[in-house]
C-alpha cells in the first residue's frame, strides 16, 4: 500500500481536503485492483485445487458432488503407480523429452548462429522458411512422414520417428535462439576473431557462455513440447503400449478407469507436477523465452 500512495511522511500531517480525496481514490483503486487480482487468481488456481482434492477421494466419493474428501486416500497415487505400464510411460517420456532436447539444442545452435551473425545470400529466405516450418501444423506432412518411418524404415511402434528429426534442427528453437543471439553485440565476436579464434571457436568460447539464458529457454520449451506431445506418440507409438508416453498413456488410463475420477485425477496430477516443478526452478529463462519470440522487434 505504501508503494501506491507513495508520499513522503512529513506531507501526511496537514491533510487538505483535496489530498484526502486523492488518497482515498488511490486506496479505492488499490482495493479494486487487488480484488480483481484475487478473483483472477481463484479462476486460475481452483481447477488445480479441485483436481488435487478429487485425486484424494475414495472411489465412491469421487462420483458424488462433494468438493472436499471425507477420507484422504493417499493410496490413490500408489494405485496409479502400480498400474501396469505407468512407469514405462515415465521412462519413455523422459527418453523422448531428454534425448530430444539435447539433440535439438546441439543441432539448432550452429544454425541459429549462422542466421544471426553470418552474412550470406539466401539468409533472409532461410529465415522465412524457418518461420514457415515453425508455423506449420505437424499434420500437414504426416502422411508421407508416416509412410517413410513406418513402411520404409519399419520404425513404427517406437519413438525414434519423433526423436531422430530433432537432430536436424527444430524451427522454433532455431528462431528463438537466433532472436537471442541477435542481442549479443558484434564487438565481442570481432574481439574474439582478433585474438585468433575461428568461427567455431568463437561460437563455443564466446557466444555460448553469453547465450546461456537463451539456450536454457530453448531447452525448456523443447522439453515441455516433448512432454506434452500427444499427436506424435499417437501416430507412431499407439500400436505398442511399451512405447507410450505419459501424455498418450494418460488418455488410455482414463479409458481403462472410466468411472474412477479419483484415479484419473491422481494420474493427471502426476503428469502436471513435473512440468510445474521444472517451471519453478527455471522461471526466469522461461518467461524470457516467451517475450523474446513475441515482442522484441
Amino acid at each position: 500500500m505504501a508503494q501506491v500512495l507513495d508520499k513522503p511522511v512529513e506531507l501526511r500531517a496537514p491533510v487538505t481536503p483535496a489530498e484526502r480525496t486523492a488518497r482515498r481514490k488511490a486506496l479505492m483503486e488499490w482495493i479494486a485492483v487487488h480484488s480483481l487480482g484475487v478473483a483472477a487468481a481463484l479462476f486460475f488456481t481452483l481447477p488445480f485445487v479441485f483436481v488435487f482434492l478429487t485425486s484424494l477421494m475414495s472411489d465412491s466419493q469421487a462420483l458424488s458432488r462433494d468438493l472436499i474428501p471425507h477420507t484422504w486416500e493417499w493410496g490413490n497415487y500408489r494405485k496409479v503407480f502400480d498400474t501396469p505400464g505407468f512407469l514405462t510411460w515415465w521412462k519413455n517420456t523422459l527418453i523422448y523429452a531428454g534425448l530430444g532436447t539435447v539433440l535439438t539444442v546441439v543441432s539448432s545452435i550452429p544454425v541459429a548462429y549462422a542466421l544471426a551473425k553470418f552474412r550470406f545470400r539466401g539468409r533472409n529466405l532461410s529465415l522465412m522458411l524457418v518461420i514457415s516450418m515453425m508455423m506449420l501444423p505437424p499434420q500437414v506432412v504426416i502422411i508421407p512422414m508416416y509412410l517413410f518411418w513406418a513402411k520404409q524404415l519399419d520404425l513404427s511402434g517406437t519413438l525414434w520417428p519423433l526423436i531422430i528429426p530433432m537432430a536436424f534442427g527444430d524451427a522454433f528453437s532455431i528462431f528463438l535462439l537466433r532472436q537471442f543471439l541477435m542481442t549479443i553485440p558484434n564487438e565481442y565476436l570481432d574481439a574474439a576473431k582478433v585474438d585468433g579464434c575461428g568461427e567455431f571457436k568463437t561460437l563455443v568460447r564466446v557466444v555460448l557462455p553469453m547465450a546461456k539464458p537463451g539456450i536454457a529457454a530453448v531447452a525448456l520449451f523443447q522439453f515441455f513440447y516433448a512432454w506434452n506431445d500427444y499427436f506424435g506418440p499417437q501416430i507412431y507409438a499407439s500400436e505398442n503400449p511399451g512405447a507410450w508416453t505419459l501424455s498418450y498413456g494418460l488418455e488410455s488410463f482414463k479409458g481403462a478407469h472410466h468411472t474412477d475420477w479419483n484415479l484419473t485425477m491422481a494420474a493427471t496430477v502426476l503428469v502436471m507436477a513435473p512440468v510445474i516443478l521444472v517451471f519453478f526452478f527455471a522461471q526466469k529463462a522461461f518467461v524470457e523465452g516467451v517475450t523474446l519470440t513475441g515482442v522484441k522487434g
Binding site: 487487488h34 480483481l36 483472477a40 487468481a41 486460475f44 488456481t45 481447477p47 488445480f48 483436481v51 462420483l63 458424488s64 468438493l67 539448432s108 550452429p110 544454425v111 549462422a114 553470418f118 550470406f120 532461410s126 522465412m128 518461420i131 514457415s132 516450418m133 508455423m135 506449420l136 501444423p137 505437424p138 499434420q139 500437414v140 504426416i142 502422411i143 508421407p144 512422414m145 509412410l147 517413410f148 536436424f168 534442427g169 541477435m182 568461427e199 506434452n228 500427444y230 499427436f231 505419459l246 488418455e251 482414463k254 479409458g255 475420477w261 484419473t264 485425477m265 493427471t268 503428469v271 502436471m272 512440468v275 517451471f279 518467461v287 516467451v290 517475450t291 513475441g294 515482442v295 522487434g297
Partner: protein, 322 residues
C-alpha cells in the same frame, strides 16, 4: 560492366579462396537445418501434393485418380465443412476472447503492486499444464453429472449447461479451457505494456484524460503491433488445434480405447471437429491417404496465408535482421 571488371582486377589475391571458405563455413553451420528442411519439410510436402491425386490405402500400390480425392473431401466427406465451420467459430470467438482476456490480465498484473510475483506465477501456471492433462481436468470439472462447476452453479441457482456433452456448449467449454491457459499472452502483453513510455501517460493525465481515454489513446496505439501479433498467432494456433478438442470429445463420449473400438471424432455431433483431426481420421482410421493429403494441403494453405501476413508486418517477427 567495365567497373565490374575493374573491381575484379583489383581484387587482392586469395579473396576468391576466402569467399569459398566463408561459403563452406556457412554451409557447415547451416547443414543440420538444410538436411532437416529437405527430408522433413520439402520432400514430404511435395509428396503430400503427389498423394493428393492418388488413391492409396497403404497396402496396394498407389493409383492415379485425378481430382477425385479433392471432390470427395469438398463435396462428400461429411466432416470437412463442420470442421471448417468450427475453425471459423474458434477464430472469431476463441481467438478474440483470448486476446481481450490476455490484455486484461496483462493490464491487471501491471497494476498489482502487492505480491506481484505470486500473482504473476499463479496466472501463468495453467499455461504450463500439459494439454492432455488440462483437458482431462476440465472434462472432470465441467462434467454435467458430478463436476464441481455444475454443482456450484446449481447451488447458486444458475441452470447448468452440458458443456462437453452438449453440441452448443462444447466449443464454449473449450474456450474456457483456452482462457484458463492465457499465460503466454499475459506475459507478452505485460512486457508490451511496461514498454509504453511513462511520459505519455503523464502528459495525458495533465490534459485531464480519463482512465478510459488514457487506455484508448495512449496504451492501445502503443501496443497495437502486439495485439496484431497475438491475433495472427492465435489464428495460426487455431489451425493446429488438435489435442484439446480430441481429448475433450473422447473423454466426454466415454469411448473406451483399445479393444477394436474406434473413436469417431467430433463428439458431440461433430461440434469439436477441427482440420488436423480430419487428417488423422482420413489417414489413420479410414486408410484413405489421398484424401488425408487433400485436407493436409488445405491446412497448409490456410496456415501459410496467415504466416505470410505475420511476416509482412514490421516488428511482428523481427525479420529486419541487423
Amino acid at each position: 560492366m567495365s567497373t565490374v571488371t575493374l573491381a575484379k582486377k583489383r581484387r587482392p589475391p586469395g579473396l576468391a579462396a576466402k569467399q569459398r571458405k566463408q561459403a563452406l563455413r556457412t554451409l557447415a553451420f547451416m547443414s543440420p537445418w538444410l538436411i532437416g528442411f529437405a527430408v522433413f519439410f520439402a520432400y514430404p510436402l511435395i509428396s503430400t501434393v503427389y498423394f493428393s491425386f492418388m488413391h492409396y490405402d497403404g497396402f496396394k500400390p498407389p493409383t492415379w485418380v485425378g481430382t477425385k480425392n479433392w471432390t470427395y473431401v469438398f463435396k462428400n466427406y461429411p466432416y470437412f465443412w463442420p470442421a471448417m465451420r468450427n475453425t471459423l467459430w474458434l477464430v472469431v470467438v476463441m481467438v478474440s476472447l483470448r486476446v481481450v482476456f490476455g490484455l486484461g490480465v496483462g493490464l491487471l498484473i501491471t497494476k498489482i503492486k502487492t505480491a506481484t510475483g505470486v500473482f504473476r506465477t499463479l496466472f501463468y501456471l495453467p499455461y504450463l499444464a500439459p494439454p492432455v492433462a488440462a483437458t482431462m481436468a476440465f472434462a472432470f470439472l465441467l462434467n454435467p453429472g458430478t463436476g464441481p462447476v455444475n454443482s456450484l452453479l446449481e447451488k447458486v441457482g444458475i441452470p447448468a449447461p452440458g458443456w462437453f456433452n452438449d453440441p452448443t456448449w462444447s466449443k464454449p467449454a473449450l474456450t474456457l479451457l483456452a482462457l484458463w491457459g492465457i499465460g503466454d499472452l499475459m506475459v507478452i502483453f505485460m512486457a508490451a505494456l511496461l514498454d509504453v513510455p511513462q511520459e505519455q501517460y503523464e502528459a495525458a493525465e495533465l490534459d485531464g484524460a480519463s482512465a478510459w481515454q488514457r487506455f484508448r489513446y495512449v496504451t492501445l496505439p502503443n501496443i497495437s503491433p502486439i495485439v496484431m501479433f497475438a491475433v495472427v498467432t492465435g489464428v495460426i494456433q487455431t489451425m493446429q488445434y488438435y489435442t484439446q478438442p480430441l481429448i475433450a470429445g473422447k473423454v466426454a463420449s466415454g469411448v473406451i480405447q483399445g479393444a477394436g473400438t474406434q473413436f469417431e471424432p467430433g463428439y458431440p455431433e461433430k461440434s469439436t471437429l477441427t482440420l488436423p483431426q480430419l487428417v488423422y481420421n482420413l489417414g489413420f482410421q479410414r486408410f484413405d491417404y489421398g484424401s488425408a493429403c487433400v485436407v493436409a494441403l488445405v491446412l497448409f494453405a490456410l496456415s501459410m496465408v496467415f504466416t505470410a501476413f505475420l511476416m509482412r508486418r514490421r516488428g511482428g517477427l523481427n525479420l529486419a535482421g541487423d
